[in-house]
Symmetry: C2
Subunit: 340 residues, 2 copies
DNA sequence: GTGAAAGCGCTAACAG
DNA sequence: CTGTTAGCGCTTTCAC
């Protein structure tokens, strides 16, 4: 690793430091001949500009931060965040940004995270997963006026830019599908009520039933927690109420719920049909293959970065909002094939 | 976000810039009274040191890079890398380092990654997942002399620091377990032969059989690719050769293989017993619950960071090597309970 | 189109 | 224990 500076290159190329800087940064005002000569010296010497020096002088770090709160760490069991992260990382690469990853695992992390991510001269912008009730980190970051894109619909709907999937409509589509197939007692396993994703998916469920003039039966609405075990226990609570179909607010809960159904000696979809949400790769393999709502997770990450870059270039006002569409993926668990 | 500098704080506290710097960096030589006064001003003003300026002056960025090659991206389907990343991120937090994440997704990424991670003044050290044949990035990074810890056993065993799990011994334990249970035709589904992890696990399989004086039957060794589908197809190739037990080099392949067994109308473990490798959370839920080799993935991440920090503090020579132990987790798929 | 020069905000001798 | 000073390596006016 060379320890050359601009000055060294300048000397070797017989020009000034400024000219070399211009060449490095592709500025226009350099004679083609000179540019070529300088580039050659750079190539030969393996010169690289010093990232920190550049940041200090230009007040731009070319680095973005991805902040995933604690609630999320458990979610690492499911591929949602890895995929999202991939989309984000790949897009950062594309735009030549470095990605800083901030995972909040412990209570202590939670307290030290804000100074870490808001450190002056570190990040040009922040992507923050946040749809939780009582999330103070989000408040702090908003007030720091660092360009920010929230991933998910924030609980407190301030004037922040955010990007989310259309959870209401996704759930609506899922439940409408079950209605169309003729199911009469359609239950739902919701997520934790402290997250907007849960609230929105539940709303879609209610909306679909209401629009068809169905009554909402509270005994058919059971709370899960986005885990396999949560789905399992929720289903056990649900079964005495004899649902003939279940919309689970996540695939992983659907998997747990189907396990409960199987253990009770019932069959999917014959006795109880299922639709999930997420489209986990793993859920598509064992029979019955899960009918579900697919989210464009990777694209979601791409879009999030692009909005953030827009914010950085053009200012954070007005807040940008993106809601991405979902897609119903029909497989076997909903009994669609059987019903035909 | 304040745009205060050291100088401003110094003025307000009635001291020099150096003194403030000392306070900020917890240097000893400051009178307690002065320290208190300065800290108060810092608190009141919300002053934060500028990361880039600090890096430029101290030649330390307090940032580590985690580089995950392309072969790995597909692996994001399984929780191995997310968990590893968590361990790494958490440990970075602990030591007050920022973590940069470099995912190589595309062919282009592959070509631009080296300049990105080796950029002067960006990273104090690199964690690089690398156990592939023909990995030139690893070579480049080694030659750049940036402090480096390889995650996994590198294919070309140069004088590099690396950390790995004891794959040979893990596989040895798994297969020995099957031998002990009395199985006669123990097969294995290996990983791709271009990775040391596959080679090592296969070696453990062979070693376990050999030490018991068993012959190695090549028809009982089939190659998978660490995916569910790969396990499934490998098992189809395996079944005509009538194995009574299978050691799969990863849980995800074991899951695929068991699916093939089930579809063939056979039962696990009655007809064919299974032991996997990894201890995926998801594999422990459906019956038969998978007997497997647990890796200390999270601890692995912790240790990797600690070694890297050691390298940064104390120089990269001599190379450090850490091999971590695995653990046999006995559940139902191996038929241990049945055999007793 | 090119160069000189003034910072960017901090650290780390060194002197006292 | 504290202040002065000289950089760290680059960007960016501003002249020419």
């Amino acid at each position: 690793m060379s320890n050359l500076t601009l000055e060294d290159i300048a000397k070797q190329a017989g020009v000034s430091r400024s000219t070399v800087s211009r060449v490095v940064n592709d500025h226009p005002n350099v004679r083609e001949e000179v540019r070529k000569r300088v580039k050659e010296v750079i190539r030969l010497t393996g010169y690289q500009p010093h990232a920190a020096a550049r940041t200090l002088a230009s007040q731009r770090s070319w680095m973005l931060g991805l902040v995933l709160p604690r609630s999320v760490s458990s979610f690492f069991a499911d591929p949602y965040f890895p995929r999202l992260t991939q989309g984000i990382a790949q897009t950062c690469n594309q735009y030549n940004y470095t990605l800083g990853l901030f995972l909040i695992s412990t209570k202590e992390d939670e307290e030290t995270i804000f100074p870490r991510v808001s450190r002056k001269g570190l990040l040009d912008g922040i992507l923050l997963q946040s749809d939780q009730l009582g999330d103070q980190l989000t408040e702090q970051v908003i007030q720091s006026h660092i360009p920010l894109v929230i991933i998910g619909r924030p609980f407190y709907n301030k004037d922040v830019s955010y990007i989310d999937v259309d959870n209401i409509n996704g759930a609506f589509t899922a439940v409408s599908h079950l209605i169309r197939l003729g199911y009469q007692r359609i239950a739902t396993i919701t997520g934790v009520p402290t997250r907007t994703v849960s609230i929105d998916r539940k709303e879609g469920y209610i909306k679909a039933l209401s629009e068809r003039g169905r009554n909402i039966d509270e005994s058919l609405i059971v709370e899960g927690d986005f885990t396999e075990a949560g789905g399992y226990y929720a289903m056990q609570k649900l079964m005495p109420h004899k649902p003939d179909a279940v919309f689970a607010a996540s695939d992983i809960m659907a998997i747990g719920a189907m396990r409960a159904v199987r253990e009770a000696g019932l069959r999917v979809p014959e006795d109880i049909a299922f639709v999930g949400f997420d489209d986990l790769p793993l859920a598509t393999l064992p029979e019955p293959r899960l009918t579900t709502i697919r989210q464009p997770v990777y694209q979601f990450g791409v879009k999030a970065v692009e909005i953030l870059l827009d914010l950085i270039e053009n200012g954070i006002e007005p807040p940008r909002r993106i809601i991405m569409d979902t897609e119903l993926i029909i497989r076997n668990s909903c009994g669609a094939s059987r019903k035909k």
